[in-house]
């Protein structure tokens, strides 16, 4: 056979997710800090996200591929699971009561659901302006603008932009309800996995978390590998995590019969 691959896809995943089953990995990417990308993925595909530097943040939004009017719902997901953070076992639920994706792997134990998105005004105020004309591809791009670009590719607009899940970031809430961003967390080497429980559109931005108080625009790189995990089995960890997760996954299973 031919030793030379006929496309220039690079097997990044072998460096940051070497434990994945090689025969089921479909592709991988390395997103620089501040970048954005999107995919349409089938039920039974999983995305492994690996923080390749400290200060990584990856904002993720999810829409059902068959009808993007069905989308990740922050309040429904939090209240159903009585949680204000995400980790292994949690499910990201749509407004239609179905599991869009589930956390099947996590080395950090806390990912931020409060849905902060950096916008351009806040970004310029914090880090100064770095526009293309001067800085070329080292320009700064906010999480909001990055996600608007990506969801725009799927016909969605600012009207449709939802609160994201901020992977790798940790935000606690004090007794007065105020946000406290964990700026001591070292993310390099951490990984988390989302299994798609429906056919979904996933858009991501690797711009900084808007509450990150650290000076300087230094968003970390994030490696992403997609692999065929299969749909949630009967003895799935997430199914057993809470009865609410089991019901959301059941609702997704029923939908998949169609």
């Amino acid at each position: 056979m031919n030793d030379q691959p006929i496309v220039d896809a690079f097997p990044h995943w072998q460096r940051f997710a070497a434990d994945l089953p090689a025969d089921r990995v479909v592709w991988s990417e390395v997103l620089p800090g501040g970048a954005h990308w999107s995919w349409r993925l089938s039920r039974g595909t999983a995305l492994r996200f690996a923080a390749l530097d400290d200060r990584a943040n990856c904002s993720v939004v999810l829409y059902a591929a068959h009808d993007p009017l069905e989308r990740y719902n922050l309040p429904d997901s939090l209240k159903a699971q009585h949680t204000a953070h995400y980790t292994r076992g949690h499910t990201l639920m749509s407004d239609m009561g179905r599991a869009l994706a589930s956390f099947t792997h996590d080395t950090l134990g806390w990912h931020d659901p409060f849905g902060g998105l950096l916008d351009s005004a806040r970004m310029a105020q914090k880090y100064g302006e770095h526009r293309y004309e001067v800085h070329r591809n080292a320009m700064y791009r906010s999480g909001r603008d990055g996600l608007l670009v990506e969801i725009g590719k799927h016909g969605l607009t600012a009207r449709d932009l939802i609160a994201p899940v901020n992977l790798f970031s940790r935000v606690t809430v004090d007794a007065n309800g105020r946000f406290v961003f964990d700026d001591q967390r070292k993310t390099a080497g951490a990984s988390v996995e989302l299994r798609c429980d429906m056919d979904v559109i996933v858009a991501v931005s690797t711009a900084p978390h808007p509450l990150d108080p650290r000076p300087g625009y230094q968003p970390g790189k994030v490696g992403i590998a997609a692999w065929k995990s299969g749909a949630a089995p009967a003895d799935d960890y997430c199914r057993g995590f809470r009865p609410e997760c089991a019901r959301a996954l059941h609702n997704a299973d029923v939908f998949a019969l169609a």
């Binding site: 998105l117 009207r159 809430v173 509450l211 019901r247 059941h250």
Partner: protein
Amino acid sequence: MNTLKESPLDVATAVARHRLPAGEPWLAEVKRGQTVRIVDLEGNQAADILFYNRHDPAEHYDAAGTMLAEGGIYLSTGSVLRSNAGNPLLTIVADTCGRHDTLGGACAAESNTVRYALQKKFMHSCRDNYLLAMANADVGLTKRDLVPNVNFFMNVPVTPEGGLEFADGVSGPGKYVELHAEMDVWMLVSNCPQLNNPCNAYNPTPVEFVFWDPA
């Protein structure tokens, strides 16, 4: 952190009053400069409310953007409700309750199947209310515009361990919150019919809206 503040406005000078029965929807306009007071008539009733730019329904209340600008999860006196374009929609100018929830969202047939039991599907819900009010009003609002809402009079604290609790006890009969409209807005209300949650003692009750024109 004391954010309790009574309003100087007198109900006798109000231009409109509307009693919204338990469990019902309502879509109303609040004009720029007007003040609207929402009264929890019998206590611990959740008023699930969304706001839209009256002239551009694509501009809606943004829970995440509002929380980010406020630096925390509760709304009370001084809080500015912001849109997805970053604009102030309304400012809370008085509050005898102390905090209002930004995280709990609205109940729905579908989410009730997940939260409580699959057979809870056919109970009345806030999202049914919203959809019906939008369909009847026919002003360009659709399911697409059903974003995370404010729950006035609800108390949903987050624990230091990252848990979410549905508590109560901050509201009571006659307590109110008052908002000043910074632009012409649609106010989409579901007076929550939720019967699965102990927050309202399984007894949804009416709320009242009182409107004042600019002084």
